[in-house]
C-alpha cells in the first residue's frame, strides 16, 4: 500500500503484478455484506431441477433453430433461425459455461461438467485454462496485473470495445490461441495462473477442440457449403453480441484495484429474456460476493442485501448511458472511474478495502 503504483500494465507477469503482490492487493480479503449462516445455507442449496429444465429448453431451442436454419438454407428465411441459433450458441453458452464452471448450476457434478465442456467448446474456450482464469478473476477481481478477465482496459480502446459486439476480435483471439495451445503449449501468462499439474490437460483439451474444427472445415469443403461453419464455429462471431451486451456491464467504468465488489462490479436489472440467456448474472455484485449461490437464487439474495449495495441500474440502456461519459473521460485521464454511491442503509466503504486507488481516483 505504501509502494508507488506503477502505470497500469495488464500483463499477468509484469510491473502491476509485482505491485499487487507486494501491496497485499493480490489474494486479499474482500468485503461481504452480512447474511446469517442459516440464510446463506438456504441460498447455497443445490438443486438439479431448475438447471435441468433450463437445459432441456436450451437444447430444444438450439436443435429447433438449427433445424430451421438447415431447412431454409439458401433462402432469406434462414436468417431469423440463425439469429436465434447464434445467440443461443454464441451468447447463452457463456452463462452456462460460467455457472457450470462454478459447479452451482446442477447439484449433480457430472451434469455441471458435461454442460461446462459443451459450452466451453461453443465459446472457443479451453475448458482447463478458463476454469483457472475464472478462479483468478474471483480471487483478484479487476486487480490490474492479476485478473485475466478484464474486458476493457484503461485507457479504453473504444474501437476495440465497439468491435467486440461483432464477435470478430474475440474470434480472432480465441481460435489462434486454441491452435497455439494445441501445438505449442501454454504461454507464460497462462502458466502464471494454471498449476503445472494441469498444463498437459489444457493442451489435450485444446487438441480436441482443434480436431472438431478441422473436421467441420473438412465437412464444409466436402459439401462445398458454408453451412457446417455457420452451425459450428461461426456462431461465435455472429451470435456473441448478447454476451458482450450483458457481460461488458459487469465491471466497465468502475473502480479497479479495490477489494469491495460494490465498487468494481455492477448489478443491472434486465428483461426476462436477457436474464434467461444470461442466467441471472445481471445480479453481478451478488454473484461476486457470494459465488456459491446458484443462479436461480440470486434474485432472492439481491432482495436480502440490496440495502447494502449501490442502487442497481434499472436497465442496460441506463447502464450504458452511465458508462459512456466515463469511458470518454478515461481516454484523457485513465484513473477516472465511476464511484458508486451507497444508500444510507449500507455499511460505508471501508478505507482499508479501497485505499489502493483513492489518492489518485477522480470523484
Amino acid at each position: 500500500m505504501t509502494a508507488a503504483r506503477p502505470k497500469r500494465d495488464y500483463s499477468l507477469v509484469g510491473e502491476s503484478t509485482r505491485w499487487a503482490i507486494e501491496t497485499g492487493l493480490a489474494s486479499a480479503e474482500w468485503y461481504h455484506s452480512e447474511v446469517s449462516r442459516k440464510t446463506m445455507k438456504e441460498l447455497m442449496q443445490r438443486s438439479d431441477g431448475p438447471a435441468i429444465r433450463d437445459t432441456i429448453i436450451w437444447i430444444a431451442l438450439i436443435l429447433g433453430s438449427a433445424a430451421g436454419a438447415i431447412w431454409f438454407w439458401g433462402t432469406w428465411w434462414c436468417v431469423p433461425f440463425f439469429f436465434v441459433y447464434g445467440v443461443l450458441y454464441g451468447s447463452s453458452s457463456d452463462s452456462r459455461w460460467h455457472e457450470c464452471g462454478h459447479g452451482t448450476a446442477f447439484r449433480t457434478r457430472w451434469m455441471n461438467d458435461v454442460v461446462y465442456q459443451i459450452a466451453s467448446f461453443m465459446l472457443m474456450r479451453n475448458p482447463v485454462q478458463w476454469r483457472w482464469s475464472h478462479a483468478r478473476h474471483h480471487t483478484d477481481t479487476i486487480i490490474v496485473g492479476r485478473d485475466a478477465e478484464i474486458a476493457v482496459m484503461r485507457p479504453p480502446d473504444l474501437l476495440k470495445t465497439a468491435l467486440a459486439f461483432t464477435g470478430l476480435l474475440d474470434f480472432r483471439y480465441s481460435l489462434p490461441r486454441l491452435f497455439r495451445q494445441a501445438f505449442i503449449g501454454l504461454d507464460a501468462e497462462e502458466k502464471s495462473y494454471i498449476p503445472e499439474m494441469e498444463w498437459r490437460k489444457a493442451v489435450v483439451a485444446a487438441r480436441w477442440h482443434v480436431a472438431i474444427y478441422v473436421a467441420t472445415v473438412a465437412a464444409a469443403l466436402w459439401m462445398w457449403s458454408f453451412l457446417p461453419l455457420m452451425l459450428i464455429g461461426m456462431p461465435r462471431i455472429y451470435g456473441s453480441w448478447h454476451m458482450v451486451l450483458t457481460g461488458l456491464l459487469q465491471h466497465i467504468g468502475l473502480a479497479d484495484n479495490v477489494t469491495d465488489h460494490r465498487l468494481n462490479t455492477r448489478t443491472v436489472y434486465m428483461n426476462p429474456i436477457s436474464r434467461w440467456i444470461y442466467w441471472n448474472m445481471n445480479y453481478h455484485i451478488e454473484h461476486h460476493m457470494f459465488p456459491m449461490v446458484p443462479y436461480h437464487a440470486l434474485p432472492r439474495l439481491h432482495e436480502l442485501i440490496k440495502h447494502d449495495l449501490p442502487a442497481p441500474n434499472p436497465s442496460m440502456w441506463h447502464a450504458y448511458r452511465e458508462v459512456w461519459p466515463v469511458l470518454l473521460k478515461q481516454l484523457r485521464y485513465e484513473d477516472y472511474f465511476l464511484a458508486r454511491e451507497l444508500p444510507p442503509t449500507a455499511r460505508p466503504y471501508r478505507e482499508e478495502f479501497h485505499n489502493f486507488t483513492l489518492p489518485s481516483a477522480a470523484e
Binding site: Q45, H138, E198
Partner: protein, 104 residues
Amino acid sequence: MADWIEACEADEIDEEDVIRFDHGGRTFAIYRSPDDEYFATDGLCTHEKVHLADGLVMDDIIECPKHNGRFNYKTGQAKGAPVCVNLRTYPVRVEAGKVFIRID
C-alpha cells in the same frame, strides 16, 4: 505428541454442516455428516486459504465458498480443479456430547 482437544459441543453443528475451530494459532473445520458422524480437517482451502467453514456441506463433500473447490471431508481428497492438493484430516471422537479432535 498428539493431543485430544475439545473443539465444541456436538449439537453446536447442524446436520450436514460445518463450523470453524481455532486452536494454537491454527484453524480447523469440524463437520457433522448427514449420518450424524463427525469429522475434522484443516480449516483453510488448499487452493487460496479461504475458510471452509463458510462453505457448503453436501453429503460427504465440502465446497469452498470462494472458488467452489470440492473436497471429501471424510478423506480430505481434493475432487478436482481448482483444488489439486488434498486436505489434511484429523481423528475425531464424541464423548459426553462434546467433540474432540486429535491434533499433533
